[in-house]
Symmetry: C2
Subunit: 348 residues, 2 copies
DNA sequence: ATGAAAATTGCAAACGTTTGCATGATATTG
DNA sequence: CAATATCATGCAAACGTTTGCAATTTTCAT
């Protein structure tokens, strides 16, 4: 039933009495082809409505001009912001982007790695699942020497691979220190699964800041949950189920910070007077809520640009030696807002 | 320098002393192949670490198992929410998704259509640019009978194609009527470029509601801008540059509504007492801001699911007759919040 | 005009699959 | 046991490009 009307390079060749090789070279501006032949060919291509078949070219060249991206979910602010940048940047380089979501499921992540490999993407950028501890399903990419870049949620150092991440230790420490500077003495930290480097490092930063400021680290003042809104609400209930209330909360993501704020507002706990709050990622929502929430900005634009730069680098170079561990750190900075306003002994 | 280690179907055949055709059929569970051969082949495939080459298969079959998606930008709530759903749904059907952003540039949109065609996507879903009036660059897809679905921002009826859209007329009218019900007499509407069906229809809904309630439609109470935050702020300044202030504002998107609220708060205009506000899309930000903003929910999940359903339908059926105009309407509903609380003569 | 160098074009194989048709092997029937 | 039906496998072409090498044409100095 399908009416074949797709024009190929062969049609152009026939029409012009040329060989397919000449047509191919003409379309690709090969130096061996005379200017006037190129013109003739291109004109005919336009006339026939010819569009190159990327799959055929890809098969022959063993490259797809396509990059794969795996993120937990594209509806979350930080990965969404990064995806946007990556997509736009890659477009400039003539690459397509296949965006996939693991939905934080290891099983889905594994499946995606395989389909993206099957699609023969020329490179892969990944922010792993919360629970990815074993990274061996990414081995094919290393074996076949296909550019592979991890960002944000990354594997441990011994999984030799290119890594671009934020300075989560510094972020955790700055956030905590800021709360201390604003007068907090009893700071709760809400963390995530420690399988994930992010939360481990932010927690370490939190500990470090307490220590440097001679405040005790208390195990029971650290809460763990799985970073959904529902869980955050439960954690809030736990935190405020008994006195004394903390005078500061450092949440490891903004959704949690927003939920804590909501809980406080609904339960008459004054923010920032009674309890100060800091979040992480500088989600736009933290800015518009009342009071606005102090948060750690992760420069998603920089992150996205660096990811693309790294991929393009690896694609160009492509000497098999590329698979050593190499880590790039994207800076962070604290955006101070109303949720941490206070007496504020100023920083020295 | 590259070490070829990619295993192909030929390697499996050699290893087992079978022909490639048998291997191919075995891997695809063709009925003509005996159970034990299938087992042997699959086992060897696993052992060799074989991964199918999607490009080779695609070239042969003339299908890529890939769908293209073009949206203005994936960082905006509504398209982002839809993309999420589409991606997850397609994954279930074994399709990859190439997400592209036109950045509301017609030029980029045209380029994207061509690359996606070159990639030989098996289907294309599009939410057009604000300024796309001529849709002829999508003609190739129609000519080649490749499933094509427009959603949200869609072409006019005479561009015979499958269309899935929200009920924007109803949305505009419900929003306006709600403001009237809450006691507003002088309602400003902030619209977008009328090249885009969405804004035209919401505006029509606004007019209709005024008329039905015997309120005058005044041209100078409708403002047009390009829906960025900066422009929204300028529009706010224009609106409140002279008295009388409007007692209601119906903004055609949430970013604008949020900006109007911000302006009001900074300038001591009480919301909702002095001025009520309604937005469009039910962006999560409208819920958390103070006061929370009434907005029109567009059921992005439903939209995403319908898009995928439509694409899969077209892919299955594929009788060339598919290119008649066909329109599907996704319902909307008004989510009432604090920004329109008021006397409220209740609806009959 | 001659020959060699330079510029342009063509031939044919290859990329990794899938599939119509033919062939070979096994089972079934009278 | 032959003849036939059924099942399992193989052959070879095709999908639309790209590219090394060979062949042809043009250019240019002698």
């Amino acid at each position: 039933m399908t009416i074949r009307t797709e024009k190929t390079i062969v049609d152009i060749a026939d029409e012009l009495g040329l060989s397919v090789s000449t047509v191919s070279r003409a379309l690709n501006d090969h130096p061996n082809i005379s200017a006037k032949t190129k013109e003739r060919v291109k004109k005919m291509a336009r006339k026939l409505g010819y569009r190159p078949n990327a799959m055929a070219a890809g098969l022959r060249n063993n490259k797809s001009k396509t990059i794969g991206l795996i993120v937990p979910r594209i509806s979350m602010f930080y990965p969404a912001a990064i995806s946007t940048i990556i997509q736009n940047k890659l477009q400039e380089f003539g690459y397509n982007l296949i965006i996939c979501q693991s939905n934080d499921s290891l099983e889905q992540e594994i499946a995606l790695v395989n389909t993206l490999y099957s699609a023969r993407v020329d490179g892969l950028a990944v922010s792993a699942t919360l629970y990815t501890a074993d990274f061996s399903h990414f081995d094919i990419f290393k074996q076949q020497n296909i550019p592979l870049v991890f960002f944000d949620r990354v594997p441990p150092k011994d999984y030799n691979v290119k890594v671009i991440k934020g300075d989560d230790f510094l972020g955790g420490s700055l956030a905590t220190e800021h709360l201390i500077d604003q007068g907090c003495k009893d700071i709760v930290h809400i963390s995530g699964p420690l399988t994930c480097n992010l939360y481990k490092e932010r927690l370490a930063g939190y500990k470090d800041a307490l220590q440097k400021n001679k405040l005790p680290f208390k195990k029971q003042r650290v809460f763990f949950h799985e970073l959904t809104k529902e869980n955050a609400w439960q954690t809030a209930e736990k935190i405020f189920s008994q006195k004394p209330y903390p005078d500061g909360v450092f949440a490891t993501n903004d959704t949690t910070a927003l939920t804590i704020l909501e809980y406080c507002r609904k339960n008459g706990i004054q923010v920032p007077q009674q309890c100060k709050i800091v979040g992480y990622s500088n989600d736009p929502r933290t800015e518009i809520v009342t009071p606005s929430i102090t948060s750690v900005d992760q420069y998603p634009t920089t992150m996205g640009e660096r990811i693309v730069a790294a991929l393009m680098d690896l694609i160009q170079a492509k000497h098999p030696a590329a698979y050593r561990h190499s880590q790039e750190i994207v800076p962070i900075h604290l955006v101070e807002r109303e949720s941490t306003a206070g007496a504020g002994k100023k920083k020295k």
